[in-house]
Structures are given as C-alpha cells and as structure tokens.
C-alpha cells in the first residue's frame, strides 16, 4: 500500500471514527450519560448487518437502513426502560448500568456467534476501483466516506433546523426550562439515545465492511470514540469529524508502516495531542526566539 493510498483509506476509516465519537458526544452532551456500551453497539451493528446480509438477499444499502432502524429502537429502549430511571446530577449510576449492558451484549454475541474473527463479504463490489489522476481508489471506501460525510451533515441539519434537534440542544443547556415549555424530558432523551446508538451501529457496520471484528472489538472502538470526543470537543460536529479523520489516518498509515503495532500509533498521537494542548505553546516559542 502506498502512502497516498494509506492516507485515503485512513480518511475513510476516520469518517467512521468521527461518527463513533459523535454518538458518544451526543449522549454525554445532551443527557450526561457516559455510555460504556457504545463500543458494543458499534460491534452489534456489524454482527447484525453481517447476519442480515447472510440470511437475506438484501443489498448493502438496504441492510444499512435495517441496522439503522434496529439500532434506533435499541437506543430508544435502553433509554426509556433503563437510563431514564437513572438520570440525575450523579452520572455514575448510568455509567454502571451501561457497563453492565456492555458485558451482557458482549457475552450474548459470543454465545450466538462464537469468538472467531469475522469479516463481512459483500461480493465483487468489494474490489471495484476507479482511477483518479493516476491514483487507484476503491469505489467502496469512497462510498463509505461519502456516507459518513452525509451523516454528519444530516445530524447538523437536524440539530439546527428541526424542533427535535433544537430540543436536544436545549436539553443539554437546561432541561428544566425545556419541560416548562411542554417537552417531555424522557421522550427527548429516548430520541437522542436512539440517534446516538444509530450512529454507532451504522458506523460499526460500515467499518466491518473494511476490517475484521470479534465480539470483543467493542472496547477498542469505545476507546477510539473517547479519543475522538476528547480531541474534537463535545459540542462541535466539525471537531468530531476532524478528530476522527486525524485518528483514522494515523491508524491506517501506522498499520501500513508496521502491521503489528498499528493501534499504538493512534494512542501515541492521542497522548501527543494531550501534551501539546497542555503545553503553553506561545510561551515556548517566544523562549526559543530569544
């Protein structure tokens, strides 16, 4: 793999990383829920998609839609039946509940699917390619990248121009006042969690089309989501997107340099960013200059 190809692949994976982070950030920003099961929902999206692809003749775009709808229902149910009972000033109970749920999902996946490494085979589309300015690009990665950009734009439109989206942002600011305007807080929260889990599961499925996964992949994916949120910030769609791209490129380029320690580069880059952020750069630079 050439460096350029690695960068392009990294961008495609990175768009999905951005979606991982966006889902986590929405849940935390709107209802202060740290969803520890976020990674398991990412993996669940992959397993669900793989199963639907295997047992039905549906094409990939329809399967994505099926996974999106199921994931929305799961997120909605998780919030409505469990997390809405735990919301409050203390974030720990919801964190523990989602941690428990992550263990349940992981073990259920092992029970149903076993713990082999899996990949999704979608047939000849996998290897379709086009050449742009002398660079060979896969059609599939391009389509996946376009879809993740589209999902970011759609979430942006929803948050800015729909009543539901405005209610999400208002709930993050001041849920009591939102209630005095006639909004049912629990319903707003259930919708928001539905959206967050949908982003996780769809991105998880799309990532699985390009790379392998096991029932235990959730932890890694959750870690990536956290890193995206920390680098990109909570309240910014663009921040999540760019942070995802950055981590994606570092991961894939790192993998192409040394397949054994690929993820390490991502974590090193993350730590580097944390250190740089702490450092008082202007002060360091002026000291240099003197």
């Amino acid at each position: 793999m050439t460096l350029l190809a690695a960068v392009l692949n990294g961008l495609m994976v990175g768009g999905l990383y951005g979606l991982f982070g966006l889902g986590l950030a929405l849940a935390f920003g709107i209802m202060r829920v740290v969803n520890i099961a976020h990674g398991e929902f990412i993996v669940l999206g992959a397993f669900l998609g793989a199963t639907v692809l295997a047992v039905t003749p549906l094409p990939l775009p329809v399967v994505v839609l099926v996974v999106a709808i199921s994931a929305f229902a799961m997120g909605w149910l998780m919030q409505a039946t469990m997390l809405n009972r735990l919301v409050g000033p203390n974030p720990i109970p919801a964190m523990i509940a989602t941690m428990g749920l992550s263990i349940i999902i992981r073990n259920a996946l092992v029970a149903v699917y076993g713990n082999n490494i899996r990949a999704i085979d979608i047939g000849p589309v996998q290897n379709l390619g086009i050449e742009v300015a002398g660079v060979a690009l896969g059609v599939l990665p391009l389509a996946i990248f376009a879809l993740s950009v589209a999902m970011f734009l759609a979430v942006g439109l929803l948050l800015r121009h729909s009543t539901t989206g405005r209610a999400f942002r208002a709930a993050a600011d001041d849920f009591e006042i939102l209630e005095t305007l006639g909004f049912n807080r629990r319903r707003v929260y259930a919708l928001a969690m539905g959206l967050a889990v949908t982003l996780a599961a769809v991105a998880g499925l799309l990532l699985a089309v390009r790379s392998s996964f096991t029932p235990f992949s959730g932890i890694e994916r959750l870690l990536i989501a956290f890193q995206v949120v920390i680098i990109g910030g909570l309240g910014s769609l663009r921040g999540s997107f760019l942070a995802g791209l950055f981590l994606g490129v570092v991961h894939v380029v790192g993998l192409s340099l040394n397949p054994n320690v690929g993820p390490l580069f991502g974590h090193l880059a993350f730590i580097l960013i944390l250190i740089l952020r702490q450092a008082d750069l202007p002060a360091i630079l002026t000291r240099r200059g003197r």
């Binding site: 009543t163 208002a170 600011d173 009591e176 209630e179 005095t180 006639g182 909004f183």
Partner: protein, 235 residues
C-alpha cells in the same frame, strides 16, 4: 371564575420545608403580586405550581382540574408558563430558536413570532444572536416572549426586574398591560413592593414560607406590607 386555586401547599427541598400551608387564588384576567424577602419561598411556590418541585401536601387546581400530581410538561401544556428567576435562556440557541421552542408545544392562541417581535420590537435587532450573548434586559425580553409563545392562560414571572436598570424595568413592566389585554392572567413575584403593588390587582406577602398578608393592591397599606415583609409586629 377562579383560574388557579392553591390550597394548603407544603413544598420541601429535601428535608427543608420552604412553604407552609400556602393558600392562593388567581382569578381569570387578574394580576397577582407575590412579594417577600430573600428566601421567603416565592420561587419555590412558582416551581411547585408549574410542577418543577412537586408539592408534598396540598392541592393545586387549574380551572377546577387537579394538577398537583401532573408532570411539569403536562402542566405547561394545560396553560401555565414560567418566566424563571435568572431568565435561564438556552445560551447555545439563538434568540429566535429560543422563541421557536416556546411555540413548538404551544396551545393555540394569539402569541406567535410576529406578535412577540411586535411586543418587544428591539428583539428584531438581535433575533439571530446566541442568547448567551445578550444583556440582562435583552435576555429578560426573550424570556418573557418565550413563555408567552406557549399561549398560556397563566403566566408566572419570577423577579423580572432583578439586576436591571430602572429605565429597562419600566419598559419590561409596560409589556404586562398588553399581555393582560390578550387575556393572560399574571403572577408577578417581586421584591420591589411599590412596583409590585402598581402592576397588580391583589398582593400576597410571603414571610418564611407563610402568607402573612393579602389584599387588594390599592387598599393594603404600605406599612402593613412592610411589616408583613420584614416580619415586624404590625404597627
């Protein structure tokens, strides 16, 4: 016709009792002022009426319907709106987005965006600004307009004059006349005795969670209010 009837209301913050057997009535079309010093329980009473802090004992009725145990959003949809203490706009939303949220679950009625901008023409100049970047007076206009967008039957206003310059307080109070003309009843919580008396039909004084005085605004003597307010023996 009594719009709001509050009977024997005890409200607690955890173990701390903030109101003791409060009785209160608001007739349709009426403006009622609630005055009292810091910590008297005024905000707590409003929070209980709209369901943010549920009452432990007592009943609250809106046009005869018992709403004591309803959730806040259900009470709001039945026609009670709150202009909260400290304004509490959604800071990351623009002014107009704040207003639109007010109308999203509103009852039918005369108040819409156009009517709101007509009530406070100055709002048009900053309608697309984030609500977190407004001055206190500007915020207060938006907070009142946002609550009005619900087309309430009863508007609860918690210290709308707090921290504002006198000229701006005058502007804000001027709007209450027009709000009443749209057949919205008012509850005005205030620390400023004179202004509260001037803007209302009846006053209630609250002292340490108890109603210590009530009467027609034009009839209760200032001395009696002062005594009820500060808890001194009536002169």
């Amino acid at each position: 016709m009594t719009l709001l009837t509050v009977e024997g209301l005890d409200v607690f913050h955890g173990d701390l009792q903030a109101t003791f057997g409060v009785d209160l009535q608001v007739a349709a079309g009426e403006a009622v002022a609630i005055i009292g010093a810091n910590g008297a329980g005024k905000s707590t009473l409003l929070r209980a009426i709209i369901g943010l802090t549920p009452a432990r004992h007592g009943t609250i009725r809106l046009e005869g319907e018992d709403i004591t145990r309803l959730s806040c959003d259900m009470i709001a949809r039945r026609g009670i709106a709150l202009v909260p203490e400290g304004r509490r706009l959604f800071p990351s939303l623009t002014v107009e987005e704040n207003l639109r949220l007010g109308s999203a679950r509103a009852r039918p009625g005369p108040w819409n965006l156009e009517a709101a901008y007509d009530l406070f023409p100055a709002m048009t100049d900053f309608r697309h600004r984030p609500a977190g970047m407004l001055s206190g007076g500007q915020q207060q206009m938006v907070a009142i307009a946002r609550a009005l967008m619900m087309n309430p039957r009863l508007l609860l206003c918690d210290e709308v004059s707090l921290g504002l310059a006198p000229a701006i307080i005058g502007d804000i109070y001027a709007c209450f006349r027009r709000i009443r003309d749209s057949s919205v009843s008012l509850v005005l919580v205030e620390q400023d005795i004179l202004r509260a008396r001037a803007a209302s039909d009846r006053v209630y004084c609250l002292l340490k969670g108890r109603v210590t005085l009530q009467g027609a605004s034009g009839e209760v003597a200032l001395d009696a209010i002062r005594a009820a307010y500060f808890g001194e023996a009536a002169a």
